[in-house]
Amino acid sequence: MTEPAPVRPDDLVRAVEATLFAAEEPMSAEAISAHLGGANVRDALAELAATYAGRGVQLVERGKRWHFQTAPDLAHLLRREKEEVRRLSRAATEVLAIVAYHEPVSRAEIEAIRGVQTAKGTLDVLMEAGWVRIAGRREVPGRPVIYATTPDFLTHFGLESRRDLPGIDELRAAGLLDPVEDALAAALDGPDEAEGEDGGGDEEAADSESAD
């Protein structure tokens, strides 16, 4: 057998459906296409997602990768006796949130937000879980390693992209994702802002942020 023959259009939706059903991992549109002899699968994916919407099984996109999963509202029926999900320490959940909302972020920046040193094992646990990866080094003195989340993180937490992180727009608008120094400078700047860093100042920050 030579290179797979391109799949005919009328079979394409079925082929994409079967491929994703059989796959053991989420697949990008490119990977599906490569598997199916180079067919354009965008429309088929959209059609399938619409077909499955509202069913007990759904087709979802997470970080540009697609997979089938059970509908969230049926969780109570499917939850198994032994939970498959790794229990994270409070420190690990906080670090994960900080990485997700601030990425890419260095360890020093994580520690500045948490006010404590981060145990070596904390980031390791998140990397072992496949949710956090090293994303390079920051080009500042010392060239610290910086961390970011992975596609598996989005898959696990049911996020189509980082924009879906809960409350990220509000946090950004409130300046709560900016470093303390920036927020301090903004608060101490004009007399208006200084008047109420608790009030109008923040709202102005929100406006300017959302205009971005």
Partner: protein, 263 residues
């Protein structure tokens, strides 16, 4: 900024200590559970049950110092960073209460604001983490297919070999393994005696250097030529030994030159 730090709230909004008093014991037992002074401060600030932007830094400082003092009274061992924070907060409190010193830089209000901003950020991430953990998580709330068939790509070799390679390989097998048979054939030879007489007579008529091949019989059967060459070479050595001929060869395997010596 006004004289009173904006972050300080009216007294009547403050209701912290009463609730904490009952929980003293629990608080101490939890001390190990806090991840550092900022964590403890955030917990205390949240007990004020107001928006973090409106907490009273002064009250917060008092509460923190109270707990540290009580912990010391109970001889609980406190990590150094809790004590460092206590010292810093004590300084902050005094600076906030004293008449404003224009020279102070950074101003106590700025320090208080910085602390407040840090608490806000930590609180924001703590909330975000909780919301994140509460999402529909794979393996807990939503599930993969239980037994996917899996996609496999089998790599299969497509072997290539051409006709010439095939018969050449066979030829070489046969050649490599063919029994080597040595047969002594009845072959044409030139004897040493005849070579001696032929070479010495030819040297007699020619004074120049001559290549040894020139002494071989012309138009000879190829099989005879090889024998003639060998015999003529031995004859040349014999003549040289007798002082009747000179031999010269400029390089290894080069042409062997021969010349007669007049007696």
């Amino acid at each position: 900024m006004t004289d009173t730090p904006a972050i300080t709230l009216p007294e009547d909004d403050w209701q912290g200590v009463a609730t904490v008093a009952a929980g003293d014991e629990a608080l101490y037992l939890e001390l190990d559970g806090w991840e550092g002074p900022l964590d403890l401060l955030l917990d205390l600030a949240r007990r004020q049950k107001v928006d973090l932007r409106r907490i009273s830094i002064l009250e917060l400082v008092d509460q923190y110092l109270t707990y540290i003092e009580q912990a010391e009274a109970l001889r609980l061992e406190l990590a150094a960073d809790y004590l460092v924070m206590a010292a810093w907060l004590a300084y902050l409190k005094s600076a906030l209460l004293l008449p404003r010193d224009e020279q102070a830089d950074p101003s106590p209000e700025e320090l208080a604001l910085r602390l407040q901003l840090r608490l806000q950020r930590l609180a924001a991430m703590r909330d975000a983490a909780a919301r994140l953990m509460g999402r529909d998580r794979l393996g807990r709330d939503v599930f993969w297919r239980g037994a996917p068939e899996g996609l496999r790509i089998d790599r299969k070799a497509k072997w290539q070999c051409d006709w010439f390679a095939l018969i050449q390989a066979y030829g070489q097998v046969k050649a490599r393994t063919a029994p080597v048979v040595h047969m002594v054939r009845d072959r044409m030879v030139m004897t040493l005696d005849s070579a001696l007489s032929r070479v010495s007579s030819m040297l007699g008529v020619n004074l120049d250097w001559m290549e040894i091949r020139a002494f071989l019989p012309p138009h000879a059967d190829p099989r005879l030529r090889r024998s003639a060459l060998a015999s003529s070479f031995v004859a040349a050595l014999e003549l040289a030994r007798l002082g009747k001929a000179e031999l010269s060869q400029d390089e290894v395997f080069g042409p062997l030159m021969l010349r007669g010596i007049r007696a």
